[in-house]
Structure formats: C-alpha cells, structure tokens
Amino acid sequence: MISIEGLRKVFTANKTETTAVDDVTLSIKQGDIFGVIGYSGAGKSTFVRLLNRLEEPTGGKIFIRNQEITALKKNELRLARQDIGMVFQHFNLLWSRTVKENIAFPLEIAGVEKEERNQRVQSLIDLVGLSGKEATYPSQLSGGQKQRVGIARALANKPSVLLCDEATSALDPETTNSILDLLVDINQQLGLTIILITHEMRVIRKICNQVAVMENGKVVEHGNVLDVFAHPKTDVTKKFVQQLMGDAEAENEFEHLVHTFENGKLIRLHFVGETTNDALISKLVKAYDIDISILQGKITRTQAGAYGTLFIQMTGEELEITKAIQHVTEKTSVELEVIRGVR
C-alpha cells in the first residue's frame, strides 16, 4: 500500500541545518493502523507531512498504491491527495466557515453533490458528537470540539489513507475512545489505512497493529505492536513501553518500595504473554513455604496471554525463596529480577 524509501527532509533555518527526517525506509500495508511515536521534535509531524508532500522531500521516494507520490505532477498530486485525509496538530479550520461548512469543504473540493454532502456532513457531526454545534464558528468552540471538527473533515471524503497528527491529544479519554472506535470501524469496514502520530500509548495499544518509533529523524524500531512492545530494543521504546505498563511511575517510586517493604525479597516479574503462567503466584505459594504480596504492577491480557510487570514481595525462609526463584527462572517463560535481597 504505502512504501517509503530513503525518505529525508532537511530544514535550513538561520544557516543551521536540521535533519527532521533522516533516511526512513518503511512499508505500510493496506488496512494497517500504523502508529508513530517518539519524543517531541523527533520528526513525526514532518514525516507525516512528507507523505502527502505538504513538505517536499529532500530525498527519497514515496509510493502509495503503486503510485510514486514523489514523482507526481501538480494535478496528479491534487487528485491523489483527495484520497488522503489529514488531521492537523493545530486543527487548521477555516474561521470563516461554520462547523458544518468546514466539514463539507473536502466534499465541495471533490465535487460531491449538495444533497449527499449535507447527509454525509450531518452523519459525521453526529458521529463526532457535535450535534447542535452545526452553525457554530470555530472561534466559539472548545479545543476538543475544534479537533473533532478536524477529524470529521478528514473523514468526510471517505479517504483510503488517513494521516493523523495527534488527532486525539486535545480530547478527553471518553471522546478519544469514541473517536478511536470510529476509526477502527472505518478501518475494518472500508479498509482505511491509518497513519497516526500520538503521545498516548493507550491509543497505540487500543487501535494500532503496527508501530514505528522515531528518534532524531530516524525510525529506530518498527513492526508489529506486540513484538515491538514485548521486546523493546532501544531506550526510547523502553521508555514508551514503561508508560503503557505503568512502570514509568514504578521506576520513580522504586526507592519508596525499597524502603517501605523491609522484609523479604523485592522481585520484579515480567510476564511476556503465555497462558501457562497465569496461576504462577498461586502455584508458587502452594509449592514453597513462602508468602507473596503484590505490591504494584500491571497485567494486560493480550491474544497471546498475560503480559506485563508485577512487583512482588516474597517473604519466608531464605532457602524456600531461592527455590521459588529457581522454579520461576527455570520452568516458566516469566522473566524475574531480584531488586533487593533478604535483610
């Protein structure tokens, strides 16, 4: 569907060059929901803007549906763009148009008839929860309302590719969920391919099947969401995964755990998705003469099984504890790390 080869973008400002996107090679399949994550300034927005050539690449090629976007003439590009929806980080609504007229705009561009236009616009307004605000001008909307207009506008022309630049960052979780559900719906029903920049791992986890992690303009890791998250290779990815797993906070409060729970061993268990380990704690407690307290952590159900991290406290005889640890490391796929030994 989309294939990208050696894409580069260099900005020159005040005589210094910034390589915003650096030699990115990727391919995205039809129907993928492709997440892009990375630190602020990593080049995510620039990357997405290159895809529909809002920025002209400094180098590299982009193919969408076997059409070489980077080689298109002005008019061909125009037509190709009608099939690519885009949600902007800063909304970019026309202040001179009402909510309704803003959403109708891409339909006017594509020459959709008035009756159908009205119908589609109305159903989109309902979908994004803006009924009653049809005749309102953007300046009278809240941030999230503006963003929803932007999303409705991007979907109006039933594009086959949707580019989202932090489309839900101004939205509360409830609205985010309903928007994401909407996207998944369209994705499944019409095979819409979505490329989505986000800072919220929750969004990635909820709807993406592919993910790319960017750092300093480079894609440092990409692939299946579960693969990437289960075995993060780079520091960036690890940091992001920690957010999802709630470890980021755990890390910060580590000291606190160490001090609060003075007896027994503090252990981190890392479940990597196997159903056989579901009753692990129960088994350990029965098999060995120890007690286990669950201090903190998060377990998530994935298709493959439980996945996540738990901090536990094991108390009991030193020997029993050692045996239990041995059991875990030798007989299960759970990764175990002793944070502090018995005092």
Binding site: R81, N92, L93, W95, S96, R97, F105, I109, S139
Partner: protein, 222 residues
C-alpha cells in the same frame, strides 16, 4: 437661515455634483474591486513561495501596478484618452473619468489585497492543499473568504481615496463635489461652497466608512 448663510449656492448644482460623485465613486469602486482583487491575487500567488510562484509574471504584475500607481492622476487621465474613447465612447463627463479612476485606484487596492492575503493563516491554505483543492478552489473558498474582513476594510479605504480622485477628474468635466468645490468655490473665493461641499464629502466618507465597518464586523468570525 440656511438660505441666508449659503445665499450664493445653487441647490440644484450641489445636488447634481453629489449625484455625480456618487455615480463615479460607486461605478469606479466596482471596477476597482474586480481589477484590484485580480491584481492582488496575481501578486500574491506568483510571489516567492506562492501557489503559482513565477518570478516573471510577478515582476510584470508588480511593474504594471507600480507604474500606474506612480503616474500622476492628471497625466494618467490624458494618457488613457484613446483607451477611454474606445471603451466608453466619449472622453468627457463622468463616464470618461471611470477608466482613469479604476486604473488609478486598482493597483493601489491590489497592493492592499496582497497584504490582506498574506495575513491568511498558512495552515489553512495547507489544509486545503492537503484536501487536493484546485488553485481556483483555494482562491475562492479559502483565500478570499478568510481574508474578507481585511479585503472589505481595504476597499473602504480605497473608496475614500476614490472620492478624492473624483475631485481631480473634474479636469475632464466629470463634475462631482470635489471639482465643484474647487472651481466654483475655491477658485472664486466662495468659501460657503467649499464648506458645504466639504461637509457633504465628509458625510459621504462617513457613509462609506460606516457601511465598510459594518460589513467587516459581520464577516469577522474570529
């Protein structure tokens, strides 16, 4: 009392002059609006980074605009005689003043249009581009509507400048309040006429300003 104060004034002449001023200003304004928008768009679109970026067209448009802005109005009127004769069929009276008024004011308004278009949010233009809009669509559905308050304010300014120009068009017998004030009033030291004409001109200016401000405010949804 009024009759006393303005003993020497012929009311029908003043009414006639007021009509002429209105006639010339309004027709010229329509022409200026159309031609000015065209010139302004051309300047904006062909400029560096514009949708039709084209150094040469930009240079030629700029030259055209600058040349006609620079020529003293009275010389412009005379230079345009052959053109006026061809277009209007006469080189005297209010109608003959129109081409000169329009060609004198349009380059000026064109620059104001260019300034207004430059203030349109780049992000919005980008959004339209990303939707695959034709340049025509971008012009008519994005650039012009988004710039409309500034375009109308600029038109108001131009309208008032045009009222000033009509005074000079008196040279070719186009009449109007300005030339009536100058020739029948000022040249003959009849300051009652100057005063009365000035008051009427100021009232007309206020009228235009009021209408312009009203429309601007209505249109501005920011």
């Amino acid at each position: 009392m009024f009759a006393d104060l303005f003993a020497t004034i012929k009311v029908e002449d003043i009414v006639e002059a007021t009509k002429e001023t209105f006639y010339m200003t309004i027709i010229a304004l329509i022409g200026t609006f159309i031609l000015g928008i065209l010139l302004g768009l051309l300047l904006f679109l062909t400029n560096k980074g514009g949708l039709w970026e084209n150094k040469w067209v930009n240079f030629i448009t700029a030259t055209f605009v600058n040349v006609f802005r620079a020529i003293p109005f009275i010389i412009l009127i005379l230079l345009l005689f052959p053109f006026t004769d061809f277009l209007v069929g006469t080189i005297r009276g209010p109608n003959a003043a129109l081409p000169a008024l329009i060609i004198g004011a349009a380059p000026f308004y064109g620059r104001l249009v260019e300034i207004a278009l430059r203030e349109v949010d780049k992000g919005v233009i980008e959004a339209a581009k990303a939707m695959g809009a034709k340049t025509r669509t971008i012009i008519f559905k994005v650039l012009l509507p988004e710039a409309m308050p500034a375009l109308i304010s600029g038109l108001t300014v131009t309208a008032i400048a045009l009222i000033g120009y009509t005074a000079m068009a008196g040279a070719i017998g186009s009449g109007g309040l300005g030339s009536y004030a100058y020739y029948s009033g000022f040249q003959r030291r009849d300051f009652d006429i100057v005063l009365l004409c000035s008051v009427i001109i100021v009232l007309i200016v206020f009228l235009f300003q009021f209408i312009g401000d009203y429309i601007t405010r209505k249109l501005d949804k920011r």
